[in-house]
């Protein structure tokens, strides 16, 4: 962190003096400091300008765009199939979800439906990816707060998921696992057994993560009543995903508007009550257990049959527009695609959950301490590749 003078004309701080909360008793001068863009706790390159009174945060301003690559512009200049790779590079810790949303949006636009077997494979991989994303979140979030052990545990277990991805499609992170119309690859020999073994392996390990943290006094002190946001505020700010659910709103795209055979599976939507960092942690832990349930049902019920629908070699959806959204590990990930009947999308809009959720940071950190800012950035679970696109 470096100190910055208030009169710096480079930084417009007009957002910072809105509705400052009542002055706490600390008798110190106001201070503007810069957190990031190169800061280990910002999970990428995020710069936050903090207005402080002593240790207390009076307001923030996020400066984003450091990773802006113009993904939407690239989409307009590539064919539908070519753009499929690029979406993996937005939320790179949940690449499978990104690919699923995009493929399904184009399928909807073409009026094509993926065969049931493809949908089951999609659900298994997407839920494995949700587990991997939550594991990475837990490890780094706990590390930010000062608990180092969970990082080693979660990365040990996440590795096994990445090995399954690698065996399935050859890539670990930016998987490009699905194609428009279904899946390109059939499952490898022993896939189902490996996934089942992993479920058996992970279930006690989730308990192990919880043993480290849920009753840990330091963890409780650092997360309870930190970054509280109400359900109504979440809705007004468009926040989705575990952050919304931890504030007591029981809403999940997988249940509300099911896609890819999610309606076949029996699972619950975990919610919290207080909307604080601790509840968001509990919600994500419960979600991991629900993912295990979904994967188990999917592996046991996986039907035989083709994995690819009849899709022409050259993809040319009819003129029209479509919005399709899925529940990514971060929240509602939507694609709005406009087709002009050619081989390239006329416009691709990505509705990124990280970008919209990050906007709630200001609401959550006001009145908190500087050290809590780190905890709150972690609890929103942003990926800057998706925020900036």
């Amino acid at each position: 962190m470096s100190a910055e003078t208030k009169s710096d004309p480079e930084n417009s701080l007009s957002n910072l003096d809105l509705e400052a909360p009542e002055r706490p008793h600390l008798d110190s001068n106001e201070l503007i400091i810069n957190m990031g863009p190169q800061h280990p706790a910002t999970h990428g390159v995020l710069r936050i300008i903090l207005r402080l009174d002593g240790e207390r945060v009076l307001g923030t301003e996020c400066v984003i765009g450091y990773l802006h690559r113009g993904v939407e512009k690239i989409g307009e200049n590539r064919t539908y199939a070519m753009f499929n790779h690029y979406v993996d590079r937005m939320d790179y810790v949940a690449a499978v979800s990104n690919g699923l949303g995009y493929c399904q949006a184009v399928e909807k636009l073409m009026n094509v439906e993926a065969p049931p077997r493809a949908n089951y494979i999609r659900v298994i991989l997407t839920e494995l990816n949700r587990l991997a994303s939550h594991q990475l979140w837990l490890g780094t979030h706990a590390l930010d707060i000062g608990a180092m052990t969970p990082l080693f545990y979660t990365f040990r277990d996440r590795e096994e998921i990445l090995k399954i991805f690698e065996k399935y499609c050859g890539a670990r992170l930016t998987t490009h696992a699905f194609r428009i119309g279904g899946c390109l690859y059939e499952t490898y020999a022993g896939f189902e057994k490996e996934v089942k073994n992993y479920l058996k392996y992970l279930a006690p390990h989730i308990d192990e993560y919880e043993e480290l943290l849920t009753g840990n006094r330091i963890w409780l002190e650092r997360t309870k009543k930190v970054g509280v946001i109400s359900g109504a505020d979440c809705i007004a700010l468009g926040v989705t995903g575990p952050v919304l659910r931890a504030s007591g709103v029981k809403w999940d795209v997988r249940k509300a508007q099911p896609y890819a055979n999610y309606s076949d599976f029996d699972f619950e939507i975990p919610t919290g009550e207080n909307g604080d960092t601790f509840d968001r942690y509990l919600v994500r832990m419960a979600e991991m257990r629900q993912s295990l349930r979904i994967i188990e049902q999917a592996v046991n019920g996986i039907p035989e049959g083709p994995i690819m629908a009849k899709v022409p070699k050259v993809i040319k959806p009819p003129v029209g527009e479509i919005y399709h959204s899925i529940e990514s590990p971060k929240g509602e990930l939507g694609y709005f695609i406009v087709s002009d009947g050619s081989t390239q999308p006329y416009r691709v809009r990505v509705r990124p959950p990280s970008f919209v959720n990050l906007q709630a940071l200001d609401r959550m950190v006001r009145g908190m301490m500087v050290a809590d800012v780190v905890a709150i950035i972690g609890t929103i679970d942003i990926v800057l590749g998706e925020v900036d696109r």
């Binding site: 802006h68 690239i74 200049n77 007004a236 468009g238 926040v239 709103v249 479509i322 919005y323 709005f336």
Partner: protein, 158 residues
């Protein structure tokens, strides 16, 4: 619901549907009234997204879209309007707080201004950047070379 809106606004509002998704094409003058009404009377309390599409050959070059969702009804609707280059729109930040960053992104990428926005400035690109990249006349390799030379100290960003 559609009949009610049609009855109230007549020809200024055109309800349409494509692939089972509903949208209203409305006259610019109805923004933000129709959006306010959708939230207040029909519980579209979640503004999913605001975005735009550029059609350079049209007289009114831009389509601006508000993508809404109602938790109570579990329904989605899009509101769409056309505006000319240089024309501005009223902000919807007082209706949905989430519109703040979404409108800033539309401004950044298309150069569409929103009247009454509390802090309308670029969000993804640097403040001094020239041009709006998601306009169709902005080339995919195009960059603000002057900005790159001054701020990054290199000859070209390519």
């Amino acid at each position: 619901m559609v009949d009610r809106y049609k009855g109230r606004y007549g020809s200024a509002l055109e309800p349409q549907s494509y692939l089972g998704q509903n949208y209203f094409t409305v006259d610019r003058s109805l923004i933000p009234d129709v959006l306010q009404l959708l939230r207040d009377e029909d519980q579209f309390d979640y503004c999913v997204d605001i975005t735009a599409v550029h059609y350079p050959k049209r007289e009114k070059q831009f389509d601006v879209l508000w993508n809404l969702y109602s938790y109570a009804r579990n329904e989605r609707v899009r509101v769409k309007t056309q505006i000319a280059d240089g024309e501005s729109l009223p902000t919807v930040v007082p209706i949905w707080a989430t519109a703040n960053w979404l409108e800033r992104e539309v401004y950044d990428m298309f150069g569409i201004k929103f009247d009454g926005h509390p802090d309308l400035k670029r969000i993804l690109l640097p403040d001094g950047w020239k041009g709006h990249p998601l306009r169709k006349d902005y080339g995919i390799l195009q960059q603000d070379q002057e900005w790159v030379q001054i701020n990054l100290g290199i000859e070209s960003g390519q």
